[in-house]
């Protein structure tokens, strides 16, 4: 075994420039793979966090709506009572975790807070902001039921699921992680080709030795192992670097910068990056082992 490791080491020194390129290519490609995984983790984390908080808003008529919404003008007290009764009805009550009523004054206060410092806050009047029933569902994906229940109800202008806003954000993040995967696939292809070329070169440099090994009856495994080790060692180094880079990105960019810049968003932890590290190292090692074993096969043919 020691002699095999020594042979692999000698091979690595012989093709140093190729080995450096393997290290760099696996480093970059696996960084992209890891980034894609971390983005997915981030998306899931935000989904868990926000979907639970996402509510269905039942907006009541303000009297400012354009036809055909709200033909009766501003919502009346009877209509409000009817709507609340529907929320408490046998059909809807089991689906609803809780609901609360936001009147114009509260809506105005929240609006002022949210847009403080902006011009909008100065010329919006309280009665322009409608009254709203905020409904939290037991299962947030069932918002359709609420929308249907109030589609023809007098006094309701519209029903809006907040998750539709979130889905747009997630689509952007998903697109980013798909792009990362796309780049990763291309770079991984480069890595595989580079590894097989390097191993072929290495085998060519040692073809005399391989010939001697073959006629003294060395088993394929004995001949193959140093080359596979060579490929694995260079990819291992690259993937360790990639894992390290991801941990640093999560630590300095996500935890130190984003968390303070966007305090209301829940971000991935360094522990998530530490989970991804062994995954990409394992992936890199498997890929390198596979491609170098494939590359050396030509020299094992008897």
């Amino acid at each position: 075994m020691w002699s095999m490791i020594r042979e692999a080491g000698a091979g690595l020194r012989r093709n140093l420039s190729m080995v450096i390129s393997i290290v760099l290519v696996t480093f970059i490609s696996l960084t992209f793979v890891g980034a894609a995984i971390l983005l997915q983790m981030q998306i899931n984390q935000m989904k868990n966090y926000w979907y639970d908080k996402a509510q269905v808003a039942v907006y009541l008529c303000t009297g400012y709506e354009q036809a055909p919404l709200c033909p009766d003008g501003k919502v009346t007290d009877e209509q409000k009572t009817a709507i609340e009764a529907t929320l408490k009805s046998e059909e809807l009550a089991p689906l609803i975790k809780e609901y609360f009523f936001e009147d114009e004054a509260t809506a105005y206060k929240n609006f002022k807070e949210q847009f403080s410092g902006s011009d909008v806050a100065t010329y919006v009047e309280a009665d322009q902001l409608g009254q709203t029933f905020w409904v939290s569902l037991v299962d947030p994906s069932k918002s359709e039921v609420i929308a249907q229940a109030f589609s023809d109800t007098a006094g309701v202008s519209s029903v809006k699921d907040q998750r539709t806003y979130l889905d747009q954000i997630f689509q952007v993040l998903n697109g980013a992680s798909l792009a990362a995967i796309g780049v990763a696939v291309l770079m991984l292809l480069c890595a595989v080709l580079l590894i097989s070329t390097t191993i072929r070169l290495s085998a060519f440099a040692r073809r005399k030795e391989l010939g001697i090994m073959r006629f003294v009856g060395a088993s394929n495994l004995y001949i193959q192992t140093p080359f596979v080790l060579e490929g694995i060692a260079s990819a291992l180094f690259g993937s360790l670097l990639a894992g390290g880079a991801l941990v640093l990105v999560v630590k300095y960019f996500v935890r130190d910068y984003l968390v303070t810049a966007m305090p209301y968003v829940s971000f991935i932890q360094i522990s998530d990056a530490l989970i991804v590290w062994p995954v990409i190292v394992g992936f890199g090692v498997l890929l390198a082992g596979f491609s170098s074993a494939l590359a050396i096969r030509r020299y094992l043919r008897v």
């Binding site: 002699s3 005399k208 030795e209 010939g211 001697i212 090994m213 073959r214 006629f215 003294v216 009856g217 060395a218 088993s219 394929n220 004995y222 043919r301 008897v302």
Partner: protein, 228 residues
């Protein structure tokens, strides 16, 4: 021990077969010279025996094994039972005498203890005691061939295949190598040796198989290079 029956070998892209319907039997402990002009098929016959090539037609049995039926995964294990030497010695230039011989044992997974016992023994047999630490370029041609022979027989093979082992050596040195081969043969190893060396064949007075254009044209006991 070695048996070729109706063996034809045609290399891809050639019209004339390198071996054409060759049948040959070699018994245990025999010493057989394969003679013939370049391109007569001597090397092809040895390559088939080593399973470096596959026969196009015919059957080859060596050491009781159907050579054609050995799967490529089992070939290394088959080759461990054979010893081979070549005209160009094929030593590893960056390894010492000792390491070159030990390499054959390491590559076949022998224990360190076994290697430490077997290598000095075989180096003594070929007369290289004291030159264990020399690199191949520090040895004469004859000494290099002795290293190659030591490597070939360190596994105690029942069959030794030799492809012009004296082709690169002067007559005096060749004689030394032949004496060594005779000693190995006397130990019970069957030897099949392809050669061009008239003097050696004539002096040894062993069985001679002559090939010409892929056919066996002569197979005589106790014969000479040109026949009687």
């Amino acid at each position: 021990m070695i048996s070729f029956s109706g063996v034809t070998k045609q290399y891809r892209g050639t019209t004339k077969p390198a071996l054409d319907n060759v049948s040959l039997n070699v018994d245990k402990g025999e010493f057989v010279f394969l003679v013939g002009a370049s391109g007569s098929g001597k090397s092809t016959l040895l390559r088939l025996a080593l399973k470096e090539e596959k026969a196009t037609v015919g059957e080859i049995f060596i050491l009781g094994q159907d050579v054609g039926a050995i799967s490529s995964r089992k070939v290394p294990f088959y080759r461990r039972k054979l010893g081979v030497v070549f005209q160009d010695f094929r030593l590893l230039p960056n390894k010492t005498t000792y390491q070159n011989v030990a390499f054959a044992l390491q590559a076949t997974g022998k224990s360190r203890g076994f290697i430490q016992e077997a290598v000095p023994d075989v180096l003594k047999l070929v007369g290289l005691t004291g030159k264990e630490a020399r690199m191949p370029h520090e040895l004469s041609g004859g000494e290099q061939q002795r290293v190659a022979l030591a490597r070939a027989v360190v596994n105690k093979p029942a069959v030794l295949l030799a492809d012009e082992p004296t082709g690169n050596l002067d007559p005096m040195t060749s004689q030394g190598i032949m004496a060594l081969l005779e000693r190995i043969n006397a130990g019970g190893t069957t030897i099949l040796m392809a050669t061009h060396d008239t003097m050696i064949v004539d002096r040894m007075n062993k069985r001679v198989v002559e090939l010409s254009a892929g056919h066996i044209v002569r197979d005589d006991e106790h014969s000479t290079y040109g026949g009687i």
